[in-house]
Symmetry: C2
Subunit: 258 residues, 2 copies
């Protein structure tokens, strides 16, 4: 949190896995691994750098390595045989990439910004997980969080409007401390419009239009291509179509446990 990277990783204690818990209003990130587990993982890991645009691996490659992101942003993309691309997920600090791909990587992974990662040979990792069931359970937990995130994304793509999709995506960035420089309101958008569009299931023109509409309506301030800030949190939450942060809308939303 407070430190930065000297040349080793952010917090220099080895691989790191976070999950984000959502309890009603409060949201908290928590480290899944104990210092000791991180040390044991560090014994298998080596640190690797990628430039923006580099591929960590390609769809169909034999799956040999799991990556744990130390800094930077990556995406995982699937090619649709008609030439289009789908961005399946973005990966930030503490995320796990290339996990349990059953022989071959199911998607390609590409660095969006300069990237520093731990790379873990998959067979050594598997041996470790067989020896250490508690550690393995932490991986299981992370994986189940990814699953829930993927399901949420499927719901968003299946049911939500263009405005909702883009707002939800901006919210995803906003929730990540790494995207805020020195904890101000300013949020960095590391990827280009095409990546956003391929992630939220729209065309880049539609992404642009939504962004400009939110800007015109003074819900957010869009500053160039790679920066924005939320101006009106309530309006923004309304745009996402979710319950607002401050309790103020006493509508008909008090049936099931939300």
């Amino acid at each position: 949190m407070e430190s930065n990277q000297s040349r080793a990783p952010s917090d220099a204690f080895g691989p790191s896995i976070y999950i984000t818990q959502q309890q009603g209003t409060t949201r908290s990130a928590q480290q899944l691994l104990s210092p000791d587990e991180r040390r044991r993982l560090a014994l298998l890991a080596s640190i690797q750098h990628f430039e923006a645009g580099d591929f960590l691996f390609h769809e169909g490659d034999p799956a040999t390595t799991v990556y744990n992101i130390i800094s930077g942003v990556a995406k995982s993309v699937a090619l649709l045989e008609d030439g289009r691309q789908a961005v399946v997920a973005f990966f930030l600090n503490h995320d796990l990439l290339g996990m349990f791909e059953a022989q071959r990587y199911a998607q390609s992974a590409q660095a969006i910004t300069p990237l520093t990662v731990y790379s873990l040979p998959i067979d050594a990792l598997e041996r470790l997980l067989r020896r250490d069931p508690n550690l393995q359970l932490h991986f299981l937990c992370k994986l189940s969080h990814e699953l829930r995130a993927a399901q949420r994304q499927a719901i968003v793509l299946g049911k939500f409007s263009a405005i909702q999709r883009v707002a939800l995506f901006l919210d995803f960035l906003d929730r990540h401390p790494q995207m805020h420089e020195r904890d101000n309101e300013q949020v960095t958008i590391p990827m280009d419009r095409a990546d956003i569009a391929d992630y939220v299931g729209l065309r880049i023109e539609s992404v642009s239009r939504v962004l400009q509409k939110l800007h015109r309506d003074r819900v957010i301030h869009v500053d160039g291509r790679h920066r924005f800030r939320i101006l009106d949190r309530n309006a923004f939450n309304r745009a996402m179509g979710s319950p607002v942060t401050a309790p103020e809308s006493i509508e008909a939303s008090q049936s099931a446990i939300t």
Copy 2:
């Protein structure tokens, strides 16, 4: 040996987890658990029945139980605060339901047909998985398959047309032997149009129109509400937008590793 439940289910050897592997053209289902592992799981499990329409659990309930389906079909649904429903997944024979929900179930689960399941208390299961890392690794493997399935679904919802979505859904049913009575071509559609619509991200009218169009075009035969059969496999594969089963289309599809 196979002591425990004798009056029990179809294959009377305890919980069962399958994954479906896709190697180019060939597709194979494989049992992840050894007979011994299944026996050990059976010691924790009890068998439970549900009627069509019954809820196994509701969104927000404390997560206490993992279900392994013996027979029947269930769905997992999320409520969108505007009252709409999203069907996140359908669960068939051998599937795992309610896995690792971190305190509370993230979605509701409801039986679509009469349902028989093994129910596994989550804390006992967790203890077992801590003691048995190899078994745990099988759960990890299943979970990673679910993740990939959810990502695939997200791509489908984000990028594919109505025809493709419905065809892909029908293909999902067709690939499951349980949906074929006595291995003929006839496929059962256990769920109603609303469930299909909420799963593929369309309105029920659109699902109906696509179904009728495929019927009129003699790609499939729709027999009442709950039965169909594929008449023209190549046309059907074209409708899904995937590479055809029989190699016959030598178009421009030989670039990247597909």
